[in-house]
Symmetry: D2
Subunit: 348 residues, 4 copies
């Protein structure tokens, strides 16, 4: 049977190479085109020698019309703002799109525009679907544009959404999210802060209470749980390539048992392939998910401090980006959701 | 002029080699003996080639009487419990002692015994002084036994103490401390979790809300500020050799200005050599303190979340252990407090 | 169709978890038993959380008879010496075995015994086949015991064998092999030199001209090329988890062209899936093979120094151990050789 | 007594911050000016927070006349070519200069011009002295321009020079130098290959047999030993911040004893503070020199391969750059050579 044709626009970054890595092992789709303004004409294997003998393509220019003629579904891995029009053009050409930028993640246009810039395709924004299958699966198969979730939001929304519904936290109380991300989250562009010697043997907070992923989390948690929580989101930069570990601190307004917490999480995720609920006493660790599409979730109750602490671990490039995008692609193409995504983490 | 003689009992761990490194550059003291049960008779330079041509000693057995005859002041870098009697014996021999274990850090015997084990030298515990000069300097010069602070407590008490005195936090509210430590904090003993391949490219929480440094912080913050805060302390393991970054989240019970925060910190530390208050907009970063005795402190106000976030960075082996111990030694010996401790962090 | 049953004896090390990782993605075999003396009765997922929901087994004791009853082919991942009898017993029970120790790698018993210890199953040693398919493929399908190659030897034999046949090097001249390995090569046992703080930010040579992989290389290169070369093998320890890069320096006894080198390499490997010959000007890099079964080979001619330099890169746990073992398993079971092994390297 | 005034032109790179770090601990000199075109007007402590409260200067523009008025000796840490005229102008202004570029390292103008570009101040090149005190100490005190050695050359010349004089190697035979450097050697400029995710968990060769440090080594070894050796120099990039380990392979033309090797090394370096000769059986390791000005040297004799292997370890930013520059400065200013340079390596 002929494979389904897919393409990637903006394929020279870390999300691009990760999409290519995973698609190379997917039995039902064929990668027919990849683009990169910077590397037009260059063989993919020259830029990414890991893909030698695997991806035989050359980078093409970002010509949307040409790409549209070569694929049924397109991944757009462009910077935000740049994606708005490219996605819209692909949509007009009748293509399905999974957009990995922030441009189609927000339900509320004003919220997007407050944190980013004016949105020039607001109707399409309204039509686009937030691609977190574990919470919004029913909307994805029929979607024509999916906004793929941010990496931090995935790591926060998955553990937090079922717990919020328990009504444990006073809506006025602040939920602290202390998140730590590997450096691939900063992308492959040249800036001083991403140099090896600046990151290695170092660790630091950044964009404290001021990161664009915070409103995304709040909006989607509001959709999932019915109430928009008050979050204090503080990201930190880890000297590792991949992985996000989020430590989420909930001040409790009432007593709660471990069974209640576990029940809420199991109620939401017991049947989910890509969410693993750790048994009591186990806590997430980044190397258990490196290179895999899993989100591992654990928790600790601290009754003396009247607090619940949730921990989650994902690979920011897989469940936090390319893996989730392919999970969405599978749903949009009517394929088994986990197809091509069952690889196990690389340990050590 | 003859130098003052000092010795180290338990010198084969990372704290031991760090004490030797710093003492090698100290102009007024002379290291006359180092002990290690495991390496008796072995030249220090064989175990620690960084010290070749610098420390010409061999490891001796832990014979307290002999050590006492060789030094005026002794650093004890033994595991907790093992230190109790060794310190007591040194004290009986008339020696000054800086103890780097937890055995002489607590003011309240019962608190120590709740988290560790029975204390067999309670009178000496009562006499011992908590060696955090920035807050308790006046007690140190005359002390005969100094309990050197834990690494995490130093990173938490220094930023938090002056702020607690402002009365910003409801005593019933929980202050979240999300701390991240380099792996040297786990010591040089053999356990699976300290293997390179287990730590590298990994990150994880441990001893969540259950670390022995939490009661130490609470007791000393109570002494320093007059009220024992309710802390939720969650440590994490960083894939780096050195450094602790603590992110401290305070839920505010009243409005506060940046000027008030800065005033409180400056009031406490403006004249302190080893506490650096970062200007507004700057946040601590571990490589700025690596190998140095500084504690860098920064903060962010998040009015929407009615929260204050304090950040601190120290080198766990210097300001968190050996550097602080030598700072205490200087005070106990009547030397300038910063002598031998002004080295700058190694960057990159 | 029923899957073929396989088991792993000695599965709690890094080679064990890597075998499990790869087998989890293999469509035609089923892992039915894993053993570990140290962790008998413990679920695999507790020790290796990366395998949660993937491998549902518990570690069994190393009871060979019981394992033999549960599997058609067994991987033995025991320390050398310990493997001799276990493999022999499995062989007597009619099982096929891929042994990942050194115990069945040598053709010549005396050579084995010079570098290891007396071999107690010499007839089986004589029968066993060296499992490097690219050079000795024809012997593997019918083999009942395969000695899986050492990690360093794989990285050296593959690039060097076809070149030796060119007769470029005077047999009396020394070929220098400066090899660098990631730390997983040292295994998961507890020793001081494997602690994170000892390896991180460090680099050093070890076992200079005295590593047991040197005679293995020499013997197999002799078999492959007809002449035993004089090697000077110097391994170094890299502060990374995975990967071996070998730099091989050949003093030339005659002039040679790039075309001749490329011809020799292509003659040997043009049809090999897992050997990638890099185009002129490209050199191997470890991250291009991390997590994959590829061996990347590049070269530089230095005419002024009358030298040829060969470079190879492999993942020591995949092509250097578990991947090669599964490649051998596929051949022994009549499955397509590359089945389950086509995953792409994890970049970054 | 007034301190001697020194300045740094081009102080915003890793060599610049390292000069500042070491000078901060020097008792007899005062840093009066630092320049950086890119950061003019910015406080040093903003760019390098490790220097907060230590260096209170702001970066000035590279105005040579102004700098000359502020200092008696100037370090120039500019890219090669850019340094030629700046050094010449400082020289005309009567200043002593330690140049850390390659522009004043070569004795032979043509050799420089073959590997770099035309030299526009050839008379000054002829006057300049190669600043490797252990071999050319007598020329440095009276020098007005010192060309500070390259990092790789220092790591190679020190171990190799005394051995070459033994006449062990046929002049036609090739000496292989397999060198491995930490990433700070690539500087602080923005290029893809220096990004954290490109270097971390990676390792690779580069500029094989084509690195500009090779002719520098050959020329200086020729000066030191009387015969220019045939070198094959192959550098590799290590995923660490600091350190160069060079493995040097000498094919022997005659038998040699360990005593002869040790005698040659001791004859050259027994009285040198910054060269440590390791006892037989010990080999250099990078963490033993990190942050220090030492060069550690070890060796192995491999009689079967008729080879001698020399190993050296330095910190590329200290003995390989800033430390050596300050050693030269001390000699040029009539200060004790080791002043300010006796700090011990940071371990772990």
């Amino acid at each position: 049977m002929a494979k389904i044709k897919v393409a990637i626009i903006g394929a020279s970054g870390y999300t691009g190479v990760e999409l290519m890595r995973i698609l190379a092992g997917h039995p039902e789709v064929e990668l027919t085109a990849v683009t990169s303004r910077q590397y037009v004409g260059q063989p993919v294997a020259e830029l990414f020698p890991s893909l030698r003998d695997v991806v035989e393509l050359k980078f093409m220019d970002n010509q949307v019309a040409e790409i549209a003629s070569l694929a049924d579904l397109v991944f757009t891995a462009l910077p935000h703002k740049a994606a708005i029009e490219v996605v819209a053009e692909l949509h007009r050409a009748g293509k399905k799109v999974v957009d990995l930028s922030a441009d189609y993640r927000f339900s509320e246009q004003k919220l997007y525009e407050k944190w980013y810039q004016p949105h020039t395709a607001p109707e399409l924004l309204a039509e686009a679907v937030y691609g977190l299958p574990e919470l919004f699966r029913d909307q994805i198969p029929s979607a024509r544009v999916v906004g793929n979730p941010g990496c931090y939001p995935t790591s926060v929304i998955l553990p937090l959404a079922p717990i919020l519904s328990l009504g444990l936290v006073d809506p006025e109380a602040t939920i602290v999210i202390d998140a730590k991300s590997g450096t691939s989250g900063a992308g492959r562009s040249l800036n001083l802060g991403s140099l090896y010697c600046e990151v290695n043997e170092n660790f630091k907070p950044y964009k404290v209470a001021n990161h664009r992923h915070q409103p995304e989390m709040m909006e989607q948690l509001g959709r999932a749980s019915g109430v928009v929580p008050k979050l204090l989101f503080v990201p930190h930069l880890l000297p590792i390539n991949r992985g996000i570990l989020s430590s989420i601190y909930l001040p409790l307004s009432r007593d709660v048992t471990a069974a209640e917490i576990e029940g809420a999480l199991a109620g939401a995720y017991a049947d989910e392939t890509f969410v693993r609920l750790l048994p009591s006493g186990s806590l997430p660790t980044l190397n258990a998910v490196r290179g895999s599409n899993y989100c591992d979730i654990g928790y600790v109750l601290a009754p003396e401090q009247r607090s619940l602490i949730l921990f989650s671990a994902i690979d920011n490039l897989v469940k936090g980006a390319a893996g989730a995008a392919i999970q969405n692609m599978n749903l949009m193409l009517g394929l088994p959701e986990e197809m091509g995504l069952l690889t196990v983490a690389l340990v050590p």
